[in-house]
């Protein structure tokens, strides 16, 4: 019979196959496997499997230097927490620290040295060899010795042992300048040096002695001191406990510290000096200070026939101060009274990271207040501090002086080397750029990522990322005693990473290795047999004398340990000039006090006052884990640099509503910002974070970071904590 297939036969066959398939595993197993595929598909990352261990180190993201305990899988940290009992953080970590182990995987991480070209909104990079960069530096360095400008090294983490190395090398160089960010606490030391009759040295705070803190815009409850200092204060907030610390926050911004403080005194921007004078006025007027001490120890307190502090203060009556600062005279009086009644009290300046320093005069005014309040008495809350011992050859006379940006003439730097690029504190590039010789200068940054100032450099050399690098942690400004700890690598650094010290050593044609340097330092500290050592593994603190050798000390330090100096007995009281020792001190202080707030500045209807701010360790993009989108974009808990916060009345004035986009403009440029309305913000101001956005998923494209500080007019110079800008609808 010939086989003829009709359509009907085929249909029958297909029908039979379908019926047959249904009684085989094919459809059912496929259904199951496909759904499993949606659960375990290749696009879903597999979690690591392997041995679990625990390691310790120290966080180097900000000056606090918290102890870090890392839970690791296959030796790679996957969860960080604070080291238990650590003197700095006592088992806690800030959000940046919690996610710090991600920084090694930052999407903008550099793998090779690059040449950077900035375009409009984007940045192009071209890989170059390290030798190329060194050759360029060598040429530029030759130029700088040949009177074509100076060689400046911007140290974005001053105070480290390697900083001493830099200063020593720069001192040997004819035109070497050691440059630090102006927000650095070194400014305070400079102020004190200007006030004190004899060199004063660094100070620290015994906050545990204090019952009232008067903070002049310092982020005291939000990253100024160490967690161990602020946690107790924060834990007793809203409690009726008598001895609980009371924090009075003087702040133009509704900052986090203002939110958390017991009292927030908002004042017109840039009128901190006036308010300090006003409070001092009440204290002096009502005789609430130790007349015996002040009369004896303050040379410029009252000099008949000459402009004295009393004269200066005399002008700042509560009413006048109120007019200047916008703070009611009742509040000024009551604040002064409560500072005295609820002592010991301390006033803290220092400014906010993104907002920049308060300015020298304001700092001096605040320190005057501290002396009036008795905070510098021998049993007061501010103490003198010894620095951690340094190795031989690093005494201060062998080092190049620490320079702030304002001390450097414009267009004078031929070669700028940057160590860091992601500091705790920002430096507006426009300020730095003015110091460079136009078109003939070379800027080279050592940075793990292409963020921050590195975006402005011509060449960037990749350095090991956080937790890959070996570095030491200098003493934080708030600490009453010297401390020293080491951030030892928890991760293996990838190929091609170079420590900044190696680059700098090559520039200065010398030898330098971080490990050697730190070993020298630890040996020097060990040699004094002073202080005690915290051991991370056990969570205990032992006198250094219990350690047998510098090596043992080194081992403890590199395993998340910390050295703390013995407290020193307060030196006898110094003689202080309340206005500083400069010849024109009176006039400068008066000007600073009488300075008109930008809020009262020339009023055009579209003008408002920009208050930039930032958190330590979160102004640099490389210090934000990609996961920090949770805080910035996904919860709004931290405001991104693209969000401007306004009072509803201000927003209304500019015809903007919550969620809209606005254009912020100054003579130096424009920036697009999202508008956020907040009734707690001072009318007439705009609060905006100076800092980058975290780069989350799929954020590998290099985009120029938007930073509000870029809008600062370099002519306006320091301080930049408030400036005028116009705002319009986007």
């Amino acid at each position: 019979m010939p086989l003829t297939l009709t359509r009907r036969d085929i249909l029958k066959f297909v029908g039979g196959s379908i019926a047959g398939i249904m009684v085989t595993p094919i459809p059912w197993k496929l259904l199951d496997d496909v759904s499993i595929w949606t659960q375990n598909g290749p696009w879903i990352p597999k979690v690591p499997r392997g041995a679990l261990t625990t390691s310790f180190s120290t966080c180097a993201l900000c000056p606090a230097g918290c102890g870090v305990q890392a839970r690791c899988v296959n030796g790679i940290p996957y969860f960080l927490s604070g080291t238990r009992n650590h003197p700095v953080n006592n088992g806690t970590l800030c959000p940046s620290g919690v996610a710090a182990h991600h920084l090694a995987y930052h999407p903008l991480r550099l793998k090779t040295p690059v040449q950077v070209t900035r375009g409009n909104g984007t940045i192009e990079v071209r890989p170059v060899s390290l030798d190329d960069v060194l050759r360029k530096i060598s040429v530029a360095s030759g130029n700088s010795t040949g009177a074509k400008g100076s060689l400046a090294l911007l140290d974005q983490r001053p105070g480290r042992t390697v900083s001493l190395f830099y200063r020593k090398q720069l001192a040997r160089h004819d035109h070497g300048i050691y440059l630090v960010s102006p927000t650095d606490p070194i400014l305070i030391t400079q102020c004190l040096d200007e006030m004190a009759e004899t060199p004063f040295g660094p100070v620290g705070y015994h906050l545990e002695n204090v019952r009232t803190i008067l903070s002049f815009a310092a982020p005291v409850l939000d990253g100024w001191g160490t967690p161990a200092q602020t946690s107790p204060m924060l834990r007793t907030r809203h409690s009726s406990e008598q001895n609980a610390v009371k924090v009075i926050q003087i702040d133009s911004r509704h900052s986090r510290s203002a939110q958390l403080a017991d009292q927030w005194i908002p004042l017109k921007p840039k009128t901190e000096a006036a308010l300090a004078f006003g409070i001092a006025h009440v204290i002096i007027r009502d005789g609430l200070y130790d007349k015996r001490v002040i009369g004896r120890r303050i040379p410029d307190f009252n000099i008949p026939g000459k402009h004295s502090y009393s004269d200066l203060i005399g002008r700042f009556t509560p009413d006048h101060t109120s007019e200047l600062t916008g703070v009611s005279s009742d509040v000024i009086v009551s604040t002064a009274h409560s500072l005295v009644a609820r002592g010991p009290s301390v006033a803290i300046g220092d400014g906010d990271s993104g907002g920049g320093p308060l300015g020298k005069e304001a700092e001096i005014a605040i320190w005057g207040l501290n002396i009036l309040l008795g905070a510098l008495e021998s049993n007061g809350s501010i103490v003198q501090r010894r620095e951690a011992p340094v190795p031989e050859g690093f005494s201060s006379k062998e080092l190049s002086p620490v320079m702030g940006i304002s001390a450097i003439p414009d267009h004078s730097i031929g070669l700028l080397l940057i160590d860091g690029s992601d500091p705790g504190d920002p430096l507006p590039w426009s300020l730095l750029e003015r110091k460079l010789i136009p078109r003939q200068s070379l800027v080279v940054a050592c940075s793990p990522t292409l963020t921050g100032l590195a975006q402005h450099a011509q060449y960037v050399v990749p350095t090991p990322a956080h937790l890959e690098a070996l570095t030491d942690i200098p003493t934080i400004v708030s600490s009453a005693t010297a401390t020293f700890s080491i951030s030892a690598p928890l991760l293996k650094r990838p190929e091609g990473m170079t420590d900044a010290i190696e680059i700098m050593a090559k520039v200065f044609e010398t030898e330098g290795s971080m490990e050697d340097l730190l070993k020298q330092r630890t040996s020097a500290i060990f040699a004094t047999r002073r202080g005690c050592v915290f051991k991370a593994g056990t969570g205990t603190t032992v006198p250094i004398t219990e350690l047998g050798s510098p090596d043992e000390f080194w081992t403890e330090l590199t395993a998340g340990g910390m050295w703390t100096d013995d407290p020193i007995r307060s030196k006898p009281f110094f003689q202080f000039h309340f206005m500083g020792r400069a010849p024109d001190a009176y006039q400068r202080m008066l000007d600073a006090g009488e300075a008109v707030s930008p809020l009262d500045g020339p009023l055009t209807p579209e003008m408002l006052t920009v208050l930039p701010y930032g958190r330590r360790a979160e102004v640099g993009g490389a210090q934000l884990s990609p996961l920090m989108t949770k805080l910035y974009q996904e919860s709004g808990l931290h405001r991104s640099s693209k969000v401007a916060v306004l009072n509803p009345a201000t927003a209304k004035k500019f015809d903007l509503v919550h969620g809209e986009q606005g254009i912020l403009a100054t003579a130096c440029g424009t920036q697009k910002v999202g508008i956020r309305v907040d009734a707690a913000v001072m009318p007439g101001v705009i609060e905006i974070a100076a800092g980058p956005e975290p780069i989350g998923q799929a954020g590998n494209e290099i985009v120029q970071e938007q930073n509000i500080l870029e809008l600062i007019d370099p002519d306006q110079a320091l301080p930049w904590r408030a400036f005028r800008a116009t705002l319009r609808k986007a």
């Binding site: 259904l31 496909v34 759904s35 595929w37 949606t38 659960q39």
Partner: protein, 411 residues
Amino acid sequence: MDKHLITRGVQRSPFWKFILWILPWGMLLGWGLYGAYLCLAEGLNQTNMDNRFAFGLWIYLDLTVIAFGAGAFFTGFLLYILKRHELKSVINSAVVLGLICYSGAIAVLMVDVGQPLRAWFTFWHPNVHSMLTEVTFCLTCYLTVLILEYAPIVLKNRQIRKIPSYLVFEFNLHKLMVVFAGVGAFLSFFHQGSLGGLYGVLRGRPFAFREELGIWPSTFFLFILSAMAAGPSFILLTTWLVEKLSRKRLVKHETLSYLGKLSGIMLTVYILFKSIDTLIWINSTSPSSGFPAFEYYDRAAFGTWVLFAEVVVFGLLPALLLLRKRFREHRGWLITSAVFVLAGVALNRFVLTIQTLALPTLVFDEFLSYLPSWQEVATFSLVIAYGVVLYSVSFRYLPLFPQERELAQSY
């Protein structure tokens, strides 16, 4: 061109005209498919839904079209079970509309869920206490029923009916239609209800939450009633619309009037219970969970007028109109009333789906706004375009209106 496919004794526009009519809808369909593809391939980030507005346009669409599609089950129930033969002239159209509404809703649901490949888990591991399980089961079962109800209509196509085996099968299937009508009514009853229960059980959303009657919240029953009111109106309106578009008389006015009457009766019952329910909710259910009811009508555009519009303007008013024969006899009033009925039910579904999510629960929540993305709108229009195309094709090639031939001859 396609004359041999068109039912005997009826006039259809020339093929090119038909193509011209289908073309824009086809393009809309294509756009919709692209939108749906994006949502499936790229994920639901293509939509403007978010964690707070987790249900959006699609769920609203589903709830609304399924309420409108209720005409299929209700008509079938009345025709086959209660033997209201007046409805014979619209049953086929009702079935097609039902099929479009249900298959469209399910298609959108498949785009709406994030993991359609695992959607069968609902059948394999059902949570029998979830309203959505009830909805899923009933929807799929009822869609099967609708396909089985639609099959005889397809088999009656002029060419297909020539195949004896098909026709004989159709004949026998049609004889058993009473079973499907019964099953359909049963399933519809439950899923219309469960769709109402969907929001009614949300204890965490006091705006939607209702006390339970038996094991179902009151919205369960309100949805059934309102769907029964909307269904006939939808058939009425589509029939009228098709008559206008095709310039043909398709059914007798008595049929439309009867549909209007059905709608009117059901709507009256619905509005009565809805009013009682609203009063209980305002005075007892909502305040007892810490939510003063007036606050719901205190935000953005959602004033008490919404409630007024839903209950009075689009509820009581068309109900009263449709109950009066005088108004039913008048085409204009009849159609307007039907539109009002549908608007009322659509508004009810909107309020329940969209307003519920827009309203804050925690004290510090904000009132949220949500505007669908083009992908969502595209997927939405996919269903509409698909419906128009399927209906147009069915209307052209299948005997949707048995009275048409007769009415055409009595012109």
